[in-house]
Every structure is written in structure tokens, then in C-alpha cells.
Point group: C2
Chain length 256, copies 2
């Protein structure tokens, strides 16, 4: 058996998230079905770097699985894409050591959150951006975002519905860029808690609307109280963008 | 009764085209249902500038209907959008004279066709661009497109499945722009025959791939034989972009 690492892009609009569930269309479910067919088996296991929720997209979800097939690395994407539905695309594949683990070996992740600010919603962006009618104050949001940097307990900025006990994470980089009516929020961190990027961005948007102040962020972090942060905004604007497995890959992300 | 003219944008991905059909989800069907609800009637008629096929999108489909309601112009989009599914958005509404007709009064239309040229398909563009794996020769396509300009019988460049007898149309402007991996083909004309933009663009792509020559276009037009032109490419890259009702609006389009 050889272990394969693949990078998958998917449009989350019509998936009940990444993780396999009975009677629901999931990314892992579709991938495992394709792998089972390739291996002429009843089922086949694939392990992702982590879950993504309903409606959340991927530009770089990373997954591993073991195989008995002897396919050259560069044939794997084509072979899988031929069996996968058209809202999942395998971008890359490589053979890795038996000890590589897509979930446990992550060193960092990059997430992107896209927001459209316009009076009239663009019908083509409805599944791909969170729509905000008001203009947002970019400078205020950037000031607030700088308070996220570093190592903090992010209890206030994540969903309480989780079994995870240690809520300390490190954010290495946050940036917000505007291009026309679109804002792109980019986060690089050691890892992210359940719904964390959606609460971090939801809170920045409240600040951009002048309903909260940038200076409240340190107090909210300190309080460890989810009720104090902004709303959990929808999954449709969220993209798992990159998963890195070495300090070298991480520093490349941070140099961008 | 007053006549209302509206401009509708829609994502054609999940519609069986514009025109109402029994047992199929259509743009006109959804709009007429919303109008019937607003007017507390069993049905309500709406007339579009023309059909769009399955999967074809709109940035500016223009539609008229009559109303007994006394709503200010600027309330119409909001009122309709509240009742319409989220893949149709009404952008504008205005009261027009009783003699205005969205179909018969058109002076010109603009269509856009988007093509993605890349080795690996972008999963987010699968419903919005036609994907071509090869690079296309922009200069050759532009040279070929210039032969489309002017008044011609477009029998060779449209589907024979139509009741329309007069196949003479005028193309006022064609342009092709590249932005990264995306090509945008733009056509302004007096009117377009069934599947005409898809055949015009499909033929340009054959020329961009060096499978046909720009110099063949005049002969193909002359021959009035559909078999000589390139393939009818899919509807997913096609957008009805603008419908104009006066020479003034048309010249504004051409000055862009």
C-alpha cells in the first residue's frame, strides 16, 4: 500500500459540508465512492485536513488515502476527476510517506472570506460571497484585525458547539483587500476552531459598519465569552484556501 | 392598467431557459408566479425581449407586464425580489407607455460569451464559462471576428431548428478581450438567431485552435450551410447582457 496526498477544490454550494454523513451529499462521501470504484472495493477511506461546513468552499483542501494501485502521480487527478461530480476537482496528487497524516500533520491553514458590498446583490455571487448592503470602513476593520494577530484563547470567537477543549490558536497573518465592490479577508493561522473565521469576519464587519469598535477586540478575547463577539456570518463566503505541512510551506504563505 | 418595464439578471444554471414551459423551472414561469401573487390573481402575463436557452444567463433581460397596482417605480424591484427565488434579481423598473413592447420594440442586443482557457478547470466557473484546455490565438480570432461585422444572412451560423425565415441580421460590434485565463467575447447586433452567438463563438474558438482559418468566414456566410461553421458550444458561457430600445441607447453601447 502506498499513501497518496491530494489537493481538492470544491464548490460547497450543494454539499452538506466535507465530512461523510449518512443520507447527505458530502465531499468526503463522493470522494470515498470514487476511490471505492477505482479500487473495486465496497468502501475506501480518505482523511481530510479537517471539516468544512455546509456551503463552505475549498481552493486547497488536503486529503490522504492509501492505495494498492500503481498509478503514476500525475495520473491520479485525471483518474479521480473522471469519477467525481463536477463540483469537486482534484488539482494535484503526490505519493507521501506512510506516516503522513492530512489532519494531524498540519502546521498551518489559510482561509479566505469574500464579502460583496453593494446596494443590489449580484445574482452570480449569491453562493460565493456574503452580501452586505452598506459600505464598510476598511481602515477601521484593518485596525481591528491587527488585534487578532498572535496567540490567544479564541473562545469568544468560535462556536461553543464543539468537543475541543484547548481553544488557544495562533494567527500569523490577517489582511483585508478591496477590489471594486468585493472585500477579501485572508487569515493564516496554526489552526482554526469551529466557525472561527466566520465569527472573526462577522465581528470585523460589525466594526466596518461602526456598530462595534476596534478597541473592543482585546477585551472580547480576554472575556472568553462568545456572546460578546459579532455574529457568525454564513458559510457561502468562506474558502479553505491552503493547508501547509512544514515551516517552509508556512513561511512561503506568510511572504505572499 | 399601467405598463412596467423591468430589467432582470438571472443565473441560468438551474433554469430550463427563459420561456415558460409546463413542468419545467423557467425564468418567465417564476416571474409570472410572483406577479400573480402580487396581483392576487391566478396567473399574470410577462413578455420578455426574447428567449434564453437552458443554462444561459442574463445581466440585462428586459421584460414588460401590465399592472393595476399603484407602486412607485423604485419599489417594484424590491417587491418582486422578495417573491422571486434567489437566482433571479430585478435590477430596475420603470413605467412606460402602453405601446411599449419588450420584444417587438428592440433596436439591438448585446451578448457576452465567457471562455476559460486553462489546463485544469476552475470548479467555480463550471456553470459560468465554457472551458477550453488549449490556449487560443487571440489575434487570429479577432481577425476572423471582423468578418462577422455588417449585414449578412447568418443561416450558416445558427440552428436550423427555428421557424424564423428571414436570417439576415446586422452585427454592429464584436470584440474579444483577454484577462488572465478568461476570454470575453462581446457581440452587439440588431438581433440574434437561435443559437447564433454560440455558433459564432464556437467557430472563433476553432480558428483560435488553428483548426479553421479566419479567411473561411466570408465563404461560410455565403454558403448558407450550417454544416460549414464550427460547433454550437454550451449555453453555460453565454450572457444576454443588454437590450436596447432606441438608436440613442444603441449608440451608447457602441461607444463603450
Amino acid at each position: 500500500m502506498k499513501r497518496v496526498k491530494i489537493i481538492a477544490s470544491y464548490d460547497g454550494s450543494h454539499f452538506s459540508g466535507y465530512q461523510v454523513q449518512p443520507d447527505a451529499r458530502t465531499v468526503q462521501g463522493e470522494l470515498q465512492k470514487a476511490l471505492a470504484r477505482m479500487h473495486k472495493a465496497d468502501s475506501w477511506n480518505a482523511t481530510g485536513s479537517g471539516r468544512t461546513d455546509t456551503g463552505v468552499h475549498s481552493l486547497g483542501q488536503t486529503i490522504h488515502f492509501d492505495t494498492s494501485l500503481n498509478l503514476p502521480e500525475n495520473r491520479w487527478p485525471m483518474a479521480l476527476n473522471a469519477l467525481l461530480p463536477d463540483d469537486i476537482i482534484i488539482l494535484e496528487a503526490s505519493y507521501v510517506g506512510d506516516d503522513f497524516h492530512a489532519r494531524y500533520d498540519t502546521v498551518g491553514k489559510e482561509y479566505i472570506y469574500r464579502v460583496e458590498t453593494s446596494k443590489v446583490k449580484n445574482v452570480f455571487k449569491r453562493n460565493y460571497c456574503f452580501h452586505v448592503r452598506e459600505e464598510l470602513d476598511l481602515e477601521k476593520m484593518q485596525k481591528a484585525a491587527s488585534h487578532y494577530l498572535g496567540t490567544h484563547d479564541f473562545t469568544s470567537f468560535s462556536s461553543p458547539r464543539t468537543a475541543v477543549v484547548d481553544k488557544v490558536r495562533t494567527i500569523y497573518d490577517v489582511s483585508i483587500d478591496r477590489s471594486g465592490e468585493e472585500l477579501t479577508f485572508r487569515y493564516v493561522g496554526s489552526g482554526f476552531l469551529y466557525q472561527m473565521v466566520r465569527v472573526l469576519t462577522g465581528t470585523l464587519i460589525e466594526i466596518g459598519k461602526d456598530r462595534m469598535n476596534a478597541e473592543e477586540i482585546p477585551e472580547i478575547l480576554e472575556a472568553k465569552d462568545r456572546a460578546l463577539a459579532g455574529p457568525t456570518i454564513p458559510g457561502n463566503g468562506l474558502y479553505l484556501s491552503k493547508v501547509v505541512y512544514s515551516e517552509e510551506e508556512l513561511s512561503k504563505l506568510l511572504r505572499r
